[in-house]
């Protein structure tokens, strides 16, 4: 299939044509190459025209996944770092064997295009809400990274926007599309361990150096290829240093939320799935965190968040506590189920042979997170991790961050999404944006 794509790209095709035929083939130059049916590929009417925003880390693998789908026609890339932009553009152009991929510096310009069906967004957390809401309003369906947003209020606003504009949203919480997580959640949902007494969610701790920039905190002018002021966006101003930006921004609380927020959209998402808590949240949250590091990487390195849900079930979310095993563990009356990437265990072990019959509660099944998005986009059907679901798992992290910051228990009303009886905590539900940015 790939070879066919390269063999029959429009420009090469025109070059190979005899002179007389070129006249026949000389379409107006404004006709995009995407309208030309390629051998073995879906007709233009059933293709999904896509673009990407943000290629510093997850954007590239996400795009590669989409590029592997024949129905996808990738037409544009957008990034504030020239290097990332060129890298992303070249991947697309090499894939298609042409030079058609458009590049954008400003996502708002990309959103003016009328030919795009969907975007894949993988920008730093402080940008999640603004970029995604702009894209939703432009009428794009969205594959967006977790955590859904940088604050709880933004999460609600984003969910409302996705609903308002009737957009299909898939969150990068891909664990739902993996068999062992599905099986574990289905066992719990169908009462195979009886009433769940407690949930333990183990997340990573510390700060992982994704970009090899650990300790590079000498402030200075940003590199020319990066539009740093734009990159900071709505976050409070801070001078440039390599440790603050690409990949490692997540360790700074103005830009990300540390390991807790980075992972809450994975293992807490699964915990919610098993419990049927996709559209709710805890009613109480308290936590402790260790702020051991001064400087740019200022997120807690170790944390322990205790939550309680409306039915009284407690859930612990912790990083750096070996007694809380990495992954999601539901402990019930008759046993427990644990799952993590590549792992599924249960006690009694016979639980793993349990079959969930057609008349039981079978959970949404997807075995390809990216294909699920594309399928749902055509069917206008909810994906396996829609925005609201991602918002609810992120909420646990946001509330944990607030509880850690304040050092006290927070009462949360998951229905009205308000903190009860704690005006100080309420102030932490959102942040003022740096000028000129505004939540749309």
């Amino acid at each position: 299939m790939k070879k066919n794509r390269k063999k029959f790209n429009r420009r090469q095709f025109l070059k190979k044509l005899p002179a007389a035929a070129v006249g026949v083939a000389a379409f107006p130059s404004i006709v995009p190459s995407s309208v030309f049916g390629k051998p073995g590929r879906p007709a233009p009417s059933s293709r999904v025209v896509m673009a990407g925003i943000g290629f510093g880390m997850q954007g590239i693998p996400n795009m590669r996944n989409f590029l592997s789908k024949d129905e996808v026609e990738w037409v544009a890339v957008c990034d504030l770092d020239e290097k990332h932009l060129v890298e992303a553009r070249d991947i697309v152009n090499i894939e298609y064997g042409n030079k058609d991929c458009a590049v954008y510096h400003d996502f708002r310009k990309l959103c003016e295009r009328k030919d795009i069906d969907a975007v894949s967004i993988a920008v730093p957390d402080q940008w999640h809400a603004i970029v995604a809401i702009t894209c939703a309003r432009a009428g794009f369906d969205i594959f967006g990274e977790k955590p859904l947003t940088h604050s709880l209020v933004e999460g609600r606003v984003l969910c409302d926007a996705v609903k308002r504009y009737g957009r299909i949203w898939q969150t990068g919480s891909w664990q739902r599309s993996v068999a062992n997580f599905h099986q574990a959640s289905e066992l719990v949902r169908n009462g195979r361990i009886g009433k769940v007494k407690k949930i333990e969610v183990g997340l990573p701790s510390g700060h992982y150096d994704f970009a090899g920039t650990k300790g590079q905190e000498t402030m200075g002018p940003p590199p020319e290829h990066l539009d740093y002021d734009f990159w900071l966006g709505p976050a409070p101003y801070a001078p440039y240093c390599p440790a603050r930006v690409h990949r490692n921004w997540r360790w700074n609380m103005d830009l990300g939320g540390g390991q807790l927020m980075d992972w809450v959209g994975h293992h807490v998402d699964i915990a919610h799935w098993g419990m049927g808590w996709d559209y709710t949240g805890p009613v109480e949250v308290q936590g402790t965190g260790e702020y051991t590091r001064a400087g740019v990487w200022n997120s807690p390195t170790r944390y322990y968040v205790e939550t309680r849900y409306a039915d009284g079930t407690p859930m612990i979310v912790a990083g750096g506590y070996p007694e809380i095993r990495s992954g999601t563990k539901w402990i019930g009356e008759y046993g427990w189920v644990w799952c993590n990437r590549g792992g599924l265990e249960a006690d009694p072990i016979s639980l793993l042979d349990e079959f969930i019959g057609p008349d039981e509660e079978r959970l949404y099944k997807s075995r390809d997170h990216f294909q699920n998005f594309l399928d749902c986009l055509k069917l206008r059907k909810q994906t396996i991790t829609p925005a609201e679901v991602a918002h609810r798992s992120a909420s646990v992290g946001h509330l944990g961050v607030i509880a850690i910051e304040l050092g006290r228990k927070i009462s949360w009303d998951p229905k009205t999404e308000t903190i009860k009886g704690d005006p100080e905590a309420t102030r932490l539900l959102s942040r003022a944006y740096r000028k000129p940015w505004q939540l749309g």
């Binding site: 409302d160 101003y237 001064a294 740019v296 019959g357 057609p358 069917l379 942040r431 000028k435 749309g440």
Partner: protein, 663 residues
Amino acid sequence: MKTKKKTFNSKLFLWITLVLGFCLLSGTIVLDLNAAQSGQNLKDILKQLTTYKQGQNDEIILKFNNYIRKHRKSPESRAVCEEELLFFLDSDATLEAKMEACRHLRIIGSEKSVPVLEKKLLKKETTDMARYAMEKIPAISAEKALLNALSKTRGEIRLGLISSLGQRKVAAAVTPLGMLIHGSDVESSLAAVTALGWIATPEAVEVLAETLSKSTGNIKAQTASSLLKCAEKFQLQEHQKKAAEIYDALLSADIPASLHRAAGRGKILTSGAKAGLMILDILKSGDKEMYTPAIGMISDDFDDSSLKAVCDILPELPAENQVQLLTVLSRFQRSEVLSVVKEAVKSQEKRVRIAALEALGSLGDASLVNFLSLYAAESTGVEQSNARNSLGNLKGEGVDQAVLVGLEKNTDSQIRNELIRCIEERRIKEGQPVLFAIIRDGEPENRIQAIKALKVLADLSDLSRIINIMLEAKTEREQDELIVTIVAVAGKNREQYNRGAAVVEMLSEVKDVKGRAALYRTLGKIGDDSTLTVLRRALAEKNEDIRDAAVRALSEWPTLTARDDVFRIAKVSDNPTHQVLTLRAYIRMIEMEEFRLPEAAVESLKAALKIARRSEEKKAVLGILPKFACRDALELAESMLEDKDVMSEAQAAVDMIKARFEK
């Protein structure tokens, strides 16, 4: 602090306790002594913070944050902290230091903070930090300060103020924001329109509605977006009529398609009992742009007549919308829906058929078993897999029974295969005797399918029976398939070292060579380490076929435990096939131990190379050598660069090992 603690004498502690206890008991408002002391300590910290620059003296931030976090718990100590922070904001501290103070004022700032922060709103360097704190201070004076500043500035500073007024939903800002809309500064106009969407009072809506009728381009689009938010707020407040008016205004305005669709969606939502009729009207209107949002609004509380009408309209819609509608309809377990979906399976459009088949899985019952099994038998690709999935998903009593009856009555082997597959998919335990009967007497095609189904359905108690069937298998293909089934069923045994027991037991009964060879092969695939001795004994048997079977079984052994066995055979065997099979197995087993000491693994690979007689095995060694990148691995790969049969593989291994070193 530590020195103080050390010298803290017990008498003083007693005094403090007595005084505090007295004050608490007497109910007087106590000046928080700790807080007062803290204030003094905070002063010290703030003094150090004055020159703070990120990346230079970050440690002070930790001290500062920890101090405030510790001392903001009581109102009294919070007030002391606030006072000190405000004093600090007016000092000549660095901007970065002041921002750190504002982070805490965001949480503890009160009305007292407003005058200090207000002064900073108008300066480019300090406006963001001031708003960072002030946007969250719950005081009317904070709103007034933001409003006052609005009229005194322009450009980006003003944009920030507008954003904060919007986020605070300051009703008093409607008029000044309204005035900004029609000014010459487009950015401010857009920001004001956005902010009014957050404020969303009836007055804000009035301004926005007027703007909608007078503006163009981006401002018009942003106005529409803000009006949508206002309408949603009204809906939440149960003001459906007001919301509907907004949607009407938007629907008649010239706005971008996505906003138009959103207005249409809102209009349906506010139509109450008439929503069904409205959706029908849209679907009949020919306004195709609105079809998708309208279909998305078909709700679970639709009355029967509306649902029936929607079903009737299905075939008239464009294929794309039929697909969407079928997906929506799959939620409704009603007979009229089922019949229309079943009809859609006959559509000329493949994508419609696919969607209909998927919907049947949610909607259908036992009555669909024959229909779906026939469809699955006659189709291919996605249609076939959707039909199969739906057959597996059918709900309700009688489905399993219908599958078994179907299997009994149908003679078409394709349909029977689909039904056997369904028995497996639905884990119909009652179907197991039927499967055994098919394996015994059925058509060849169905026998294979039934053997496959047993992998899932059979349990350990069935193992001996399946082994017996395997020994009497009618064809080699069936025997191979049965061995796979035996391995799968044996794997269900949680006792790892007991998985091969049933096969070993059978070996004591079976005398014929062919049968014994099949059993040895089976043992090799099960890989129960406790049965290795059985295979070792078989290697010594006189019969060549038995020895061959044992060698092949060891070559397939799935764990590392057989490593020495296969190596020994590879070293001494004069049978070229056995030598190759066991040597390959040896190399595979070395590869399996990925966490072994690399030098030790390389030593094993050297041994493999020594006895390798063909370039294929040498290449296999070179292929895995980079996994154990170490000095020895590099030397081994380099030593093979001169071997013309494998020089390119050796070079690749050298390059990969070096690359791993660099990494």
